[in-house]
């Protein structure tokens, strides 16, 4: 699907800040509010804008730090449906945050979040490995998130500029 320049502009702004008010969004993209709202509605209907979300640094919240693991999964593709069928069986588990089909040494990259390492281990050994098509899994635990989805978690925020300059 082709988007117009105006639609692209709206998508890019909303991707950076999904909580922006329609008034500010309209002002920033140089459009009327009605036109902006119309574009948002259209993009939502087309599922170009899939969901409005936020980036949370859970590691800051006591008792909610959680554990994230990236699992490399090798599978046997099925005739007719390829990898889609097994991918679906995996992504339906709510603890699975993302599933990607990969090129290279393994087939699916699965990101899962659990409360503890035990949680993740249980999921891998009881749910994931036992699926018929799954040949092998390699689990990598994430130790620290520096940057996530384009956002640096601890940016150097201080403005080093002098307050007034020509």
């Amino acid at each position: 699907m082709q988007l117009t320049a105006k639609e692209l502009e709206v998508v890019e702004i909303v991707e950076k800040n999904s909580r922006i008010s329609n008034e500010d969004l309209a002002a920033m993209s140089g459009l009327a509010i009605e036109e902006t709202e119309e574009i948002l509605r259209k993009l939502e209907q087309l599922k170009v804008i899939v969901r409005y979300t936020s980036v949370i640094d859970w590691s800051k919240i006591e008792g909610h730090e959680g554990v994230t693991a990236m699992i490399d999964v090798k599978v046997t593709p099925k005739r007719g449906v390829g990898f889609d069928d097994i991918a679906k069986r995996i992504y339906r588990f709510p603890e699975v945050k993302s599933v990607y089909l990969m090129s290279g040494a393994y087939d699916l990259s699965v990101i899962i979040e659990g409360k503890s390492m035990n949680d993740v281990a249980r999921f891998v050994s009881q749910k994931l490995s036992t699926l018929d098509s799954v040949i092998s899994t390699t689990t990598h635990f994430i130790l620290k998130k520096y940057k996530h989805d384009g956002t640096i978690f601890e940016p150097e925020e201080d403005d080093k500029r002098i307050v007034v300059s020509p």
Binding site: D24, M28, V163, V164, S165
Partner: protein, 390 residues
């Protein structure tokens, strides 16, 4: 024994200190100020550029370069100018790498002016133009851009300032402080006058990368103008590299040779690590620049729409990162407005008269500040207006 004062050059003594200084002093001492008074990007130099400079230091590139700058860098500048603006300069003989665009303007003026020569300066303009003309021994002649035409200069006004002493016209597009972009037609009009009266044009194009509504036209790209244009530009604004002090100047060979003399005796060469950083900026920085440009454009739209909504008339500037709204509706002078706004609401702006008399009645607001800060600044200015408008 002479008095201390009498040791000073009379020319320097008579220079007025920049009006920006006072606001700097006022604002620096305060806590919680949102500054729209900053004339530089809020972005830090792209990491790939910083990394290249670090590497150059690690590899020991710490000696002088050629006076005109690294040939490699001049070659990159030449291809950048031809690709982006369709102007062709020879890296060996027509390009000099300078310490910021400011030094480029300085050596250009010192290379072309004899005592008494006049330079026409279009106001409102950057604060250094007039003092640099004076320091070069010339005489600045100020003409006012047309407020009712988005701060573009009218041909008639320009012509009326020309005398037999006039040597050059100085322009800046996109403009600091008005943000005004001169379109091809505007440039043609100025070019025709320059040709008719056999004048040089000193074209400050430091904001060329920050033009928001279509392609940028350089004065040197107008036919017949390359031979009478001194093109000044640099890395500070577009590539967010103000602190590196890296600019360049392009001119016909005979002027470039003259400028190189001034540059070589006064400066030797631009800092070497900054030159390596500039090389990387031109080779890989275009996507970073594009991201910054998009971000500025959105903030410009937001600021113009906010000011107009508040009842402060504001034209849509084509470039740079300044809006220049009129504050005449408040009945205050530029200085009063800026000072009271700072005291009452802690928002720093620069009064327009700092940039020349024609800037009176306006304020310069830089939107090189995060959207969140701009939104808060707009809230504060709105509250200021509610309290101060009868």
């Amino acid at each position: 024994m002479k008095t201390t004062k009498s040791y000073l050059s009379r020319t320097v003594e008579e220079l007025k200190p920049s009006g920006i200084r006072r606001f700097f002093d006022l604002a620096s001492g305060m806590e919680g100020v949102i500054s729209l008074g900053v004339g530089e990007p809020d972005f830090v130099t792209p990491w790939s550029v910083r990394e290249a400079a670090i590497l150059s230091l690690e590899q020991g590139y710490t000696s002088y370069t050629a006076n005109a700058g690294l040939l490699e860098l001049r070659q990159e500048i030449a291809s950048y100018l031809i690709n982006s603006f369709q102007v062709a300069y020879k890296p060996e003989s027509e390009i000099i790498v300078t310490v910021g665009a400011s030094q480029a303007i300085d050596i250009a003026l010192r290379s072309i002016l004899d005592p008494g020569d006049e330079v026409i300066i279009v106001e409102p303009c950057f604060v250094s133009y007039s003092p640099l003309v004076v320091l070069a021994g010339g005489k600045p002649v100020h003409v006012q851009a047309a407020k009712d035409n988005g701060f573009k200069i009218s041909g008639d006004t320009l012509k009326s300032a020309i005398t037999d002493k006039t040597k050059a016209i100085m322009i800046c597009s996109p403009n600091n402080p008005t943000g005004t972009l001169l379109e091809e037609d505007d440039l043609r009009e100025i070019a025709a006058i320059a040709k008719e009266h056999d004048l040089l044009v000193l074209s400050d194009e430091i904001y060329a990368e920050l033009a928001y509504d279509g392609a940028y036209t350089s004065m040197a790209a107008i036919e017949g103008m390359k031979e009478r244009t001194i093109l000044v530009s640099g890395f500070s604004k577009g590539f967010a590299m103000t602190g590196w002090r890296l600019g360049f100047v392009c001119a016909p060979q005979y002027i470039a040779e003259a400028m190189l003399k001034v540059h070589q005796y006064g400066m030797m060469c631009a800092p070497t690590m900054a030159q390596y950083a500039g090389l990387e900026a031109l080779r890989s920085g275009s996507s970073d620049v594009e991201e910054m440009r998009k971000s500025y454009r959105r903030r410009r739209n937001y600021m113009v729409s906010s000011f107009n909504e508040m009842g402060l008339d504001c034209h849509l500037p084509g470039g740079a990162f300044y809006v220049f709204p009129s504050i005449q509706a408040t009945g205050l002078t530029s200085e009063q407005f800026a000072e009271q706004l700072l005291m009452e609401e802690k928002v720093a702006v620069v009064p327009g008269n700092v940039f020349g008399e024609s800037g009176e009645g306006y304020i310069r607001c830089s939107y090189a500040t995060s959207m969140e800060q701009l939104q808060e600044a707009v809230r504060r200015i709105r509250s200021f207006l509610e309290k101060n408008t009868k």
